[in-house]
Amino acid sequence: MRLRKSLVMLVYLLFVLVPIYSLVNMSFKSNREILGGLTLWPTAPTLDNYRVVFTEPTWYTSYLNSLSYVSMNMLISLLVALPAAYAFSRYRFLGDKHMFFWLLTNRMAPPAVFLLPFFQLYSAVGLFDTPIAVALAHCLFNVPLAVWILEGFMSSVPKEIDETAYIDGYTFPKFFIRIFLPMIRPGIGVTAFFCFMFSWVELLLARTLTSVDAKPIVAQMTRTVSASGIDWGVLAAAGVVALLPGIAVIYFVRNHVAKGFALGRV
């Protein structure tokens, strides 16, 4: 049984890693080598692609822009979603089911046509081309997701824990922060990671709401297409660099994801 499990895992990881490897491989090659033929490793490894990404200001500022709106978005999403998810998991109230489903409907709008009104809205409130505009716009799909994921985790915590805490004299904020949040740490970890991820890779909204000052990395990547064709090497290097913050996030939340919670901590 254990052997079979490891085998499944190994095969799947191989499936995941081959394209990633080919991306890394590509990032160390010159364009001529990439288009010249199939090589399993760079025959003439070059750091030129990375040099472009790290030294040209348009590249590294776009990288920082992305990081700033993504972290803002992660913070906002978690802060508003935690109390809301608690309300959904513990109480019934007027319109709760409709509200819960309505939240998710906001992920369903096909972007092509919605981009123009978004542009008009954020220009009208004077936020166009700022990281906060992108952070707020991404809340549209991240907050509902955060509420949904957190609600699932909160519902799996027995209600008796809340009741015992209130009997023991805890106030709501104190109970929520000291007892409840630590219990759903796996959920918070997963939610933070998903908020990060969906915001980090989103292209259409981020590109529409910014022009120069807050241009995100994903939009900068689409500029590698020039008159002389696509600059495959630089695109690959930027793709590899774009993986790194996500790896850092998943590394920080790994214990929260991996740790099951023990019953009866209260």
């Binding site: 009104p117 985790f153 292209l203 790896i247």
Partner: protein, 287 residues
């Protein structure tokens, strides 16, 4: 049974305000577009439901809608079971945990246009690994000219890209099952299948609901990856619904018609998701 308390609205209010700000105004603007014929911002005519009638009769919508449904169905049928299997196979403790978590999440972190680029290269028979292997096995594989190959490539790309999402959700759901459940199962000498069927699967129901709905919505709106990989071709083999919409909105500058298309599109997703949601939460209400 959960207590009824309208004060809970105060906890939900911040979310409501934040989401409504970005949701309701753009939605109303699109509704407004969809009933007008817009030549330029100052020249527009009210046309009522004409766009809707025209779109619903448009064979392009029918074709791409059918393609879209087949595609999303395949995505769900492959990714959900595979995701569960991967989650069950993941190590529970030790160094393997962070290692496999990080490796699994890699595809999710690749920006969507780069995902298309990777598969564009890897599928080519002259410079890509998969294309080269398939062709040296004697298969005549070419995603740029053969519609079936293009379609399969887009599907495999999606499986590669998104199965990790299902797996990560299921894994974290599995981790929140208290150990006492497993201990009880061991005392009862429950089989692996029984443990899965009666302990793990019921506990996974919440995360699976999220995973199925997310995968349905996102696969139904897939745009960037196939656009980069195949550009919708060859012919219209991989022209999914969002690409038909974008061609209409940007290619033909038909804002009114495109807005009507978006709303129909939105309603289809809404309807299907609602059916999923109702079907999967139906039992909760009975209990």
């Amino acid at each position: 049974m959960k207590p009824y308390n309208n004060k809970a609205w105060w906890l939900v209010l911040p979310v409501f305000v934040l989401v409504a700000f970005s949701a309701i105004i753009p939605m109303m603007t699109v509704v407004n577009y969809s009933v007008q014929d817009i030549f330029d911002p100052s020249t527009r005519y009210f046309v009522g439901t004409e766009w809707y009638r025209e779109i619903l009769a448009d064979p392009r919508l029918h074709d791409s809608l059918l393609r879209q449904f087949i595609y999303s169905f395949c995505v769900l049928a492959i990714e959900v079971p595979l995701g569960i299997v991967v989650a069950l196979s993941m190590p529970r403790r030790g160094l393997g945990v962070p290692f496999s978590l990080i490796l699994l999440s890699l595809p999710l972190l690749v920006p969507w246009n780069v995902v298309g680029t990777i598969w564009q290269i890897i599928g080519r028979e002259d410079i890509g690994l998969y294309g080269w292997i398939l062709n040296s096995l004697g298969l005549d594989y070419n995603y740029a000219s053969n519609p079936r190959d293009a379609w399969i490539t887009v599907l495999v790309m999606d499986v590669w890209h998104w199965t990790s999402l299902v797996a990560l959700l299921c894994y974290s759901g599995l981790r929140s099952i208290p150990d006492v459940y497993y201990q009880a199962a061991r005392i009862d000498r429950a089989s692996h299948w029984a443990v899965f069927r009666f302990i793990q699967l019921p506990k996974l129901k919440n995360v699976l609901l999220i995973a199925v709905m997310l995968r349905f919505m996102d696969s139904f709106m897939i745009y960037t990856e196939p656009f980069v990989l195949t550009g919708g071709g060859p012919g219209t083999a991989t022209t999914f619904l969002s690409q038909t919409l974008t061609q209409m909105a940007l290619g033909q500058f038909d804002l009114g018609r495109a807005a009507a298309f978006s709303l129909i599109y939105f309603l289809i997703i809404l309807l299907v998701t609602w059916v999923f949601y109702t079907a999967m939460t139906h039992n909760d209400n009975k209990e």
